[in-house]
């Protein structure tokens, strides 16, 4: 029973494992304990999430971390200033390729345990031999242009000397269609969140070659998205919601609860899949291929010290990749807007841990290739990439 004084919050979500905090908060009493009646609305596309939060159908939403940045910088339609006051999950994505591509990569020396440097290095030769055979470039799919998936895939390719805009094709597909597209031979690989990699592995369609936590350790994937205006008008409710979601995160992060969580998420109202496909990722396991289960404790994580607190440095990394791939132009003002979008103040106030003031000197862990990321020197960081989009002639 919800208390009569409970404040209703409507949240849009996409059926993915990292909608877990919202689902657990709504279903296991964490929201109610904070006086919130959390109503979840399942959506079919990120475009719908963006449109419906923008016009006020949703108060908050499960969003790809770069989406609130794209909205704040007016890079998409129906753009309104937004905030990402909390991370809803770290990691959780993987890159899967078709079995024939994997056989070639293996022949070119790809690491069998998901090392992104090694698997990436095996790709240029694979692309070359494919070009000699059929003339077709390799095709990859991601879930959205403004997504961690897009930037992780592109970073991995570019680190191996592959220009993602010239040497391969990258398209956008809804996650549930990716295994089918691999089966139909329409794509050769994809980057997506779980369970959509595992499903291809279990159906012997594909092979996981690397994953987000190996590309960029402990990095944010989904965030709680709110419009600036909703946050301003509902400050107390937002703080209560953050507290509820943090409690839900502690529960979800406990692997003893993984079976219960998998059953909840697999239900028809949420992911509508077999609970068994959800369990591995929720317990730090990743099946790279039939018979090869890798232990990756940080594969998908929901909690940990400060793990869910947004940082300006994380926001700026996404912005750096938007600029790198020609989705945005760099400016100091926009960089400041990005830092404000990923402001940690609301999160710290909600938990009573005081304001840290978005200290950029605490840079996140470097990415797999060891290239130093200094968020305080973003323009030079972007300029340092040998492969990046060239400005299109007007």
């Amino acid at each position: 029973m919800t208390r009569p004084s409970a404040k209703t919050v409507i949240a849009g979500f996409i059926p993915l494992l990292d909608s877990a905090l919202l689902v657990a908060a709504a279903r296991f009493g964490f929201a109610e304990e904070e006086g919130i009646d959390l109503k979840l609305v399942r959506e079919t596309s990120w475009a719908n999430i963006r449109d419906r939060i923008s016009i006020g159908h949703f108060d908050v939403a499960h969003m790809l971390a770069p989406m609130p940045i794209a909205a704040t910088l007016k890079l998409t339609s129906l753009a309104v200033p937004m905030l990402a006051p909390m991370t809803l999950g770290l990691g959780g994505n993987a890159i899967t390729v078709s079995l024939p591509i994997w056989e070639e990569m293996k022949a070119h020396g790809a690491d069998t345990r998901g090392d992104p440097g090694s698997t990436g290095q095996a790709l240029p030769k694979t692309i070359g031999s494919r070009r000699n055979k059929s003339g077709d470039p390799l095709r990859f799919a991601v879930v959205h242009p403004f997504s961690g998936h897009a930037y992780e895939l592109r970073y991995w390719l570019a680190a191996a000397g592959i220009d993602p805009d010239r040497d391969v094709e990258i398209t956008v597909l809804p996650p549930p269609l990716m295994p089918d597209a691999l089966l139909a031979g329409r794509i050769d690989g994809y980057c997506v969140g779980e369970p959509w990699n595992t499903i291809s592995v279990q159906n012997r369609l594909g092979r996981i070659v690397t994953f987000k936590d190996a590309i960029w350790p402990a990095s944010p994937e989904k965030v709680l998205g709110v419009t600036q205006s909703w946050a301003d008008h509902n400050a107390e409710t937002l703080q209560a919601l953050i507290r509820a979601l943090v409690k839900a995160a502690d529960w979800c992060a406990d692997w003893d609860n993984a079976e219960d969580l998998a059953h909840l998420l697999a239900a028809p109202d949420y992911l509508d899949c077999a609970p068994a496909t959800c369990v591995p990722a929720l317990t730090g396991k990743l099946q790279l291929e039939t018979g090869l289960m890798l232990e990756v404790p940080g594969f998908l994580s929901f909690a940990g010290p400060d793990a869910l607190c947004p940082t300006g440095a994380d926001g700026l990394w996404f912005y750096s990749q938007m600029v790198r791939w020609g989705q945005a132009a760099y400016s100091q003002q926009d960089a400041e807007k990005v830092v404000r979008t990923f402001d940690d103040r609301l999160f710290r106030e909600a938990l009573g841990t005081g304001a840290a003031g978005n200290d950029l000197s605490q840079a996140p862990k470097p990415l797999f290739d060891g290239v130093e990321y200094d968020p305080a020197d973003l323009a030079n960081y972007i300029a340092s990439f040998p492969i990046r989009a060239r400005p299109t002639p007007v």
Binding site: T44, S45, W46, A47, N48, D51, R52, I55, H57, T76, S77, L78, V143, H144, P145, T171, V172, L173, P174, P176, L177, Q327
Partner: protein, 195 residues
């Protein structure tokens, strides 16, 4: 009307798509194309080269569609989202009705708005129809349930059909329940007792 606009309707619900198509044709738009197949969307859009695209919000391919617009190489003219800020009322109306639209850059709002308004009203009409159909279906199911309950009473108590219905009705009234609820629990109960 000068040159007529070509309008692409993307909707995998064929009935709804044809309702929209009919509406647009009735309003004098003769270049309306329906797509319910998402395969090779880029090529289809390049071939059709539409001025306006109408897509239902349930369609999971909206993200792909917007990506296609972003890589403008794929389409001859850059396609911008139709709904701009000055039109917040019609944005809400569209989302409420479950439809979204995109137009090529540079088209005059006066030419596009009637198309969106038409799509919105046809989407609304469709969901009204769908609801009515759903209600009709459940009414039919209710009637079957009540018939089964009557049959059980007729057999177990040796009474006539009108008497059985009367018994159901009186039981419902006495307990402030719906007849269908009484009929359902009666069927469940007798099913449990049978074995």
């Amino acid at each position: 009307m000068s040159t007529s606009l070509s309008i692409l309707v993307i909707d995998d619900n064929r009935i709804r798509a044809s309702i929209i198509e009919q509406g647009l044709r009735d309003a004098g738009h003769d270049r309306v194309i329906l797509i319910d197949q998402m395969d090779g969307l880029v090529r289809q859009i390049t071939d059709i080269d539409p001025d306006v695209i109408v897509i239902d919000l349930e369609n999971p391919n909206r993200d792909q569609l917007e990506h296609i617009f972003q890589i403008s190489r794929a389409v001859r003219r850059p396609i911008a989202m139709f709904v701009d800020k000055s039109e917040s009322g019609s944005i809400e109306a569209a989302v409420d009705a479950g439809v979204s639209a995109y137009v090529v850059d540079g088209l005059k709002k006066e030419r596009v708005k009637p198309i969106l308004d038409m799509a919105i009203s046809r989407f609304r009409a469709f969901s009204r129809l769908a609801n009515e159909l759903e209600e009709a279906k459940s009414e039919l199911a209710d009637r079957k349930t009540i018939d089964r309950a009557k049959g059980i009473l007729m057999k177990s108590r040796g009474i006539s059909e009108p008497e059985a219905y009367d018994l159901l009705r009186r039981t419902a009234m006495n307990q402030s329940r719906k007849i269908i609820d009484v009929a359902q629990s009666l069927i469940i109960a007798s099913g449990l007792l049978e074995g």
